[in-house]
Homo-oligomer: 318 residues x 2
């Protein structure tokens, strides 16, 4: 496929078109991903998440500038699965575009909900593969911290950075949002604001209280940054590199990679099997079963059993 | 099945044992659910969700007391899919137990994460069916407001009540958590605290700003309650009943019910198809495919295709 060849050769327009193709998720995208796949596995994937207002976009921006000074290339994927109410992704993007535009060592892509959440997670996985294959050294995956979707997408990353900001109420917002469990590194951003030390202490207390919960022998360090002026950002990057080093030497990198691939395979298999069943059974017969469940003539488990055994001519396997 | 018979006859111990069975989700539970299913579809399902600290448990408690005074029976399902860090569910339960213990018109069940989130949503669905079948008039489903999981579980409810509390920071927390879209009724709880009117106005602004987003012609009303002393709670219940009336006369109840059942069927089908495939292919061969993907010898889509076509003897369909 020419597009894949051109993207691998470093043509940015080909990369952009390839990503759009992959986002659509149709047959053409699958053969592109098949062709690309052997080139993946090189990039370091860093998840950046935290509650709204913690400054994720600004930190991703600052990290990118730090990395570019070291001549490291950076792919950025901003995932915003929430409603159009928030608009956060758009604003963040505009800021980023202004600061990073014209640098061929940076590639930025925003992804919003398309269809199901499972679909978004898979599309994100696939876009990561494209950026990885075409040679970006580091891929920053920014997700708004709002629950299960973030946890799912964060599992894709090798290193997950969870942000918190001071003065967001008495309690630790990241804790409320259930983000603490996925953190490899904790960051109190906007650390020039009053209450930063208190927020750091609160995070530390939570970590100490859950000492046995340290992630595979790695105790998540707590850093302070001011993303807006870049303070603490090089130190954050050093810590990310220490974490990567730890993952490699402990064998955890391989373990996480394997788990990630297993989860991805099982999710794709599930969807594919359902597609095949629906096309075998036919929409019409599926509808008829739904109507029967609605009418309480049959329950969902009995219907499932019958549908699994239906042949394409409508008869049931004997 | 005796247990089903006894539960339908109103034996509370049988109901409790049946729920435990259903939570386990094995074969025995499926035949129990099949036997129960024709008795379902009577209860009004009310979801209660909101950010941590908005007073969900207390409101569920107060609603229950209001309903019991009208001789309406109430099943309560408290779903806490977050980490053991929070502990909210336990505390809430203790309060409830004290106030509601010994009333045979109330049944309380807490559910925590077991395995996957999809598993929790399905287990919640199944427990709802048990409580519905054995005759509880109203089922209150309390979920901690933390994202996609809540949205998924809230879809099960006929009427979804989203709570907010004043003084939880400058912005509307429910909005941050992405809960506004699923609200049929908005409640500012702890309305005796300073800032309640401001919070109500903030919610109203959000609703007005999104006027086209009114849910199927129903504009979510905003109420104020003090769940701790019961103020506003009977009014809240009246509004829930108005919403149910609206759902019935507009035909939306049937439409939502159908969508709910379709989603449930497709989810169960997916999982069942995957189980069947894994048992046909065998764990060992599945592992081998995962290793090949890890080694970049093959990509996940190619592996999916091959696995779908594998016969139980390992050969590929021609």
């Amino acid at each position: 496929m020419n597009l894949v060849r051109e993207a691998l050769d470093g043509n940015r327009y080909a990369v952009a078109r390839l990503i759009s193709l992959v986002e659509d998720g149709d047959e053409a995208s699958r053969s592109a991903l098949t062709a690309l796949y052997e080139h993946t596995g090189q990039a370091h994937l860093v998840g950046v998440t935290g509650p709204p207002g913690s400054g994720k976009s600004t930190l991703v921006n600052a990290l990118t500038q730090t990395l570019r000074r070291q001549d490291v290339t950076v792919g950025i994927i901003a995932v915003d699965p929430t409603s159009p109410f928030t608009g956060g992704a758009l604003l963040g993007d505009r800021v980023r575009m202004r600061d990073l535009a014209g640098d061929s060592g940076v590639f930025i892509r925003s992804m919003a909900t398309r269809g199901s959440l499972g679909g978004l997670a898979q599309a994100t996985n696939d876009v990561i593969k494209v950026l990885d294959a075409v040679g970006f050294d580091v891929i920053l995956i920014e997700t708004v911290g709002a629950g299960q979707s973030e946890v799912e997408i964060a599992r894709t990353a090798h290193t997950t950075v969870v942000l918190e900001a001071p003065g967001m109420g008495d309690e630790v917002q990241a804790l409320k949002a259930g983000l603490m469990e996925i953190a490899d590194i904790l960051v109190v951003n906007k650390a020039d604001r009053p209450g930063a030390a208190r927020t750091a202490r609160a995070l530390e207390m939570v970590i100490n209280r859950n000492a046995p919960a340290t992630k595979d022998g790695w105790a998540p360090p707590i850093l302070q940054t001011v993303a807006l002026d870049g303070s603490g950002v090089p130190e954050l990057w050093n810590t990310v590199e220490e974490h990567r080093e730890y993952l490699c030497t402990s064998g955890l990198l391989a373990k996480r990679e394997r788990m990630r691939i297993e989860t991805e395979l099982l999710n794709i298999l599930q969807r594919r099997l359902l597609e095949r069943l629906v096309s075998r059974v036919g929409e019409e017969r599926l509808e008829a079963w739904i109507e029967r469940i609605v009418a309480r003539e049959v329950d969902v488990y009995t219907a499932t059993q019958a549908l699994c055994e239906t042949r394409s001519n409508g008869s049931v396997k004997g």
